[in-house]
């Protein structure tokens, strides 16, 4: 395993925020899509999107996610930051079980353990590739 360099607090905060926003986005987006009229007309759907508070909120979350993500990318490799934000799978799962009272089983728990292990492996690598290290 490669030796880890100093991990910036700003990057840690950015990654945490990215996970939180992604979790909210997944839950709100589905509700927003289900609230659209299902009449097959793209124009009416565009009008509905522009007047739907849920979609406006989705767009707001996406904008926040975008600017935060640019800050994260300025401090870390894309191949480092993107997998770490997969922790949102864990948070969505936990919220579903704790607050929506969805049932769970051993297979799902094994999946969550795999995600956590995967993120741990990635956290053991350097968060940034310096110009001299770029692979040819």
């Amino acid at each position: 395993m490669s030796k880890k360099k100093n991990f910036p607090t700003r990057l840690a905060a950015g990654l945490l925020l990215a996970i939180l926003i992604d979790t909210a986005l997944q839950l709100v987006w589905k509700s927003a899509v289900l609230s659209l009229p299902n009449d097959g007309s793209p124009w009416l759907n565009v009008q509905a999107v522009l007047h739907s508070p849920l979609f406006i909120f989705v767009i707001f979350l996406m904008a926040c996610q975008f600017f935060n993500w640019l800050m994260v990318l300025g401090n870390a490799d894309l191949s480092y930051a993107q997998p770490v934000t997969s922790l949102s799978y864990v948070s969505v799962f936990c919220l579903s079980v704790l607050y929506l009272k969805e049932t769970t089983d051993l297979i799902q728990i094994a999946g969550i353990v795999c995600v956590l292990a995967g993120v741990w492996f990635i956290s053991q690598t350097d968060h940034v590739t310096h110009s001299s290290e770029r692979e040819s």
Partner: protein, 111 residues
């Protein structure tokens, strides 16, 4: 004629590929590239197209299934980071990515 699930899966797979390309463009914009605004603009356009396609996919698939298949984003982004950005993707990082992919698939398979 493709079933609704198959259409949904195909749309989410297309989204995964677009995500890889869009993210590489965004990363290019913060690497101090000349004409960074072009990289960011193309990246945003690609991600917007992905968003529209993903919204359509949610009409065909449960959010759990769509979210699980969209974990292909990880493979796509890691592969493109290695090939297009020449990032140092070590074996440890690949193991992590594969574990996350398996984990997400297990969670979603039971959703």
């Amino acid at each position: 004629m493709m079933g609704q699930n198959a259409i949904g899966v195909l749309l989410v797979v297309i989204c995964a590929l677009l995500e890889g390309v869009g993210q590489v463009f965004l990363k290019k914009s913060v690497l101090g590239a000349v004409r960074w605004y072009l990289w960011i603009s193309f990246g945003v356009v690609i991600l917007l197209i992905e968003t529209m396609i993903y919204s359509q996919a949610l009409l065909f698939l449960d959010v759990g299934a769509a979210y699980a298949i969209s974990s292909l984003n990880l493979i796509s982004v890691t592969f493109m980071s290695r090939c297009l950005l020449r990032e140092k993707v070590t074996r440890i990082r690949w193991i992590g990515v594969c574990l996350i992919f398996i984990g997400v698939s297990l969670v979603a398979a039971r959703a």
